[in-house]
Amino acid sequence: MEIIKTSNLKKSYMLGNVEVKALNGVDTSIEQGEFVAIMGPSGCGKSTFLNLTGMLDTPTSGEIYLEGKDVTNMNSNMRAEYRLKYMGFVFQFFNLFNELTVMENVMFPMMLNKRSNYKERAKELLNLVGLGDRLNHLPSELSGGQQQRVTIARSLANDPKILLADEPTGNLDTASSIEIIELFRKLNQEQGQTIVMVTHSPEIGGMTDRIIHFRDGTIEH
């Protein structure tokens, strides 16, 4: 089943009087359960694409369909609802809540989603990412790789249909990077998690089902 589809997706920014075309007509289709890598030179629009499909931003034109539903023109409340229930995000820079413990960071999206058994579920997820013994630590007490694993646990909290990762290993050493990618593969293979991941590393890209190549705001065929 087609979980993400974009049609002639465009996004441009105005820098003073100059129009920067970050995306210039992107047509993609990603199947449920796929593990896809997005690659391409810096500035070709990878992050822009991910932000649009993740409903963090709105396109200048074109359409986005999630599970066949046109979500392009949803209002900001509905977009928030969608992000909460259907999306998980992992960014290059660690994006944890510094004032919350590891456990609370993972609990929080579930509290926001009014789930009841969020404590057990948070522990479960932290065990899954191998941090079951760090529940009460603050993010600042963890290594970069560990923080990124907490972020992944948090992104999975509400069982998202789609996991979006923008250079999740961009700030990590090789060993930690491999741990993260192994974790993604495990999630993808064992739980059928759909994952769209931006990466600059050909090795990491090679570990996915499919690579989508971007160049100058469009897809390279």
Binding site: N51, D57, M87, F89, L96, F97, L112
Partner: protein, 385 residues
């Protein structure tokens, strides 16, 4: 909702040092409002009380519109005597003139009254600093207000000359010094009613009659009754007299409200600024909040909630300080040469009003940074622009 509370609490905990400072600003502003308003109430109440005690009956009868004096005093007094519920009345004459002592003189207001009647209605004649008060049969004595005595340097027992507004001249003896804490302290002298009638040729006339009722709350009913039976056009209840006293305090009230507003503004601005700084520091965290699905309205609420929390603590502390301060100053008022003493008067509504107004202003002040936070652009916040 619980998640919003949860995050607001965690976020506030991280900032407690700045928040302590804000709480203090709110507390001081609240206490300030309570004490200043307490002083205003004390001042007004004191003035009202004195005015009622010395210068007004439950009902005051004035001359008809076109007349300078109430005519036919004798008949009117008889009718008042016949009215059930009228306990006492005191006719007064007011006139102008000058008071001469040695080579000095001053313009004066002459207040003439019958001490035996006046004492049934007011306590004016007991407001004596030194000397004796005016006796009923004392046809040579006068009371002189303390500032007038200071100005003319007259003492008890001295003889001074009054030139009445119609040019008649008479020498009187100073019996006592009057001190009421009211405007009449500047240049009033009190003489016997009969003396004034004689000098001003006012037989059977008065400038005002103060009427004391058995039950002051029935003044409205008696106003109509007296007005009808005595054929009087102009008659005022004590509530109306109070209103005119209160209106003379309007400027004072305006000034004190202005001072309160400045205090409030300081408190509110400090809340606004601290929240604003906090939000600037947390732009990225707010971006993440929104990215993982927190709605704009929920982000807004996180910060309003923090402001309400700061407000409640600050206001409670301010209430306690304001209560303690007002109570203390009520018990230990500042001595004041004119008023006797100047202190606040405590009333529970002082606390309600100050708390309510402060909370409203805090929420308004918080709304601006909270709205900013809720409108944070996710992409810009997360990518650190």
């Amino acid at each position: 909702m619980s998640s919003v509370f949860f995050y607001a609490r965690k976020d506030a905990k991280k900032n407690w040092k700045m928040f302590v400072f804000v709480i203090m600003a709110i507390a001081i502003s609240t206490a300030n409002i309570i004490i200043i308003n307490g002083f205003m109430d004390g001042l007004t109440d004191g003035f009202l009380e004195k005015t009622m005690d010395t210068s007004s009956g439950h009902i005051n009868i004035y001359p008809n519109e076109q007349d300078k004096y109430i005519e036919g005093l004798g008949i009117k007094e008889k009718k008042l005597d016949g009215l059930d519920g009228v306990v006492a009345y005191s006719p007064r004459i007011t006139a102008g003139g000058t008071l001469h002592y040695k080579e000095k003189f001053k313009t004066i207001k002459i207040l003439a009254l019958d001490p035996s009647k006046e004492n049934e209605v007011t306590i004016l004649l007991s407001k004596i600093d030194s000397g004796k008060t005016l006796a009923a049969n004392d046809r040579d004595g006068i009371l002189i207000s303390y500032r007038l005595a200071d100005d003319l340097k007259v003492k008890i027992g001295d003889e001074a000359t009054i030139v009445f507004e119609n040019g008649k001249i008479r020498v009187f003896k100073i019996r006592g010094i009057l001190h009421t804490g009211l405007a009449m302290d500047t240049n009033t002298i009190i003489i016997n009613f009969e003396d004034a009638s004689e000098q001003l040729n006012l037989f059977n006339k008065a400038s005002i009659i103060l009427v004391k009722l058995q039950d002051g709350t029935l003044s409205g009913q008696y106003k109509n009754k007296i007005s009808g039976e005595l054929g009087i056009q102009k008659i005022k209840e004590w509530e109306q007299e109070i209103e005119s006293v209160l209106s003379s305090f309007k400027t004072f009230r305006d000034i004190s409200n202005f001072m309160n507003a400045i205090g409030l503004f300081t408190g509110a601005v400090s809340v606004g600024i601290v929240l604003y700084i906090n939000i600037l520091h947390r732009r990225r965290q707010i971006g993440i909040l929104k990215a993982i699905g927190m709605k704009d309205s929920q982000v807004l609420f996180v910060y309003i909630l923090q402001a309400v929390f700061l407000g409640i603590i600050g206001i409670l502390i301010g209430d306690a300080l304001g209560y303690a301060g007002t109570k203390y100053l009520e018990a230990h008022p500042f001595p004041d040469p004119t008023l006797g003493s100047l202190g606040p008067r405590f009333h529970l509504s002082l606390i309600y009003d100050a708390s309510l107004v402060t909370m409203l202003i805090i929420i308004l002040a918080a709304a601006i940074p909270a709205l900013m936070a809720s409108r944070t652009n996710i992409i810009k916040a997360i990518w650190g622009e």
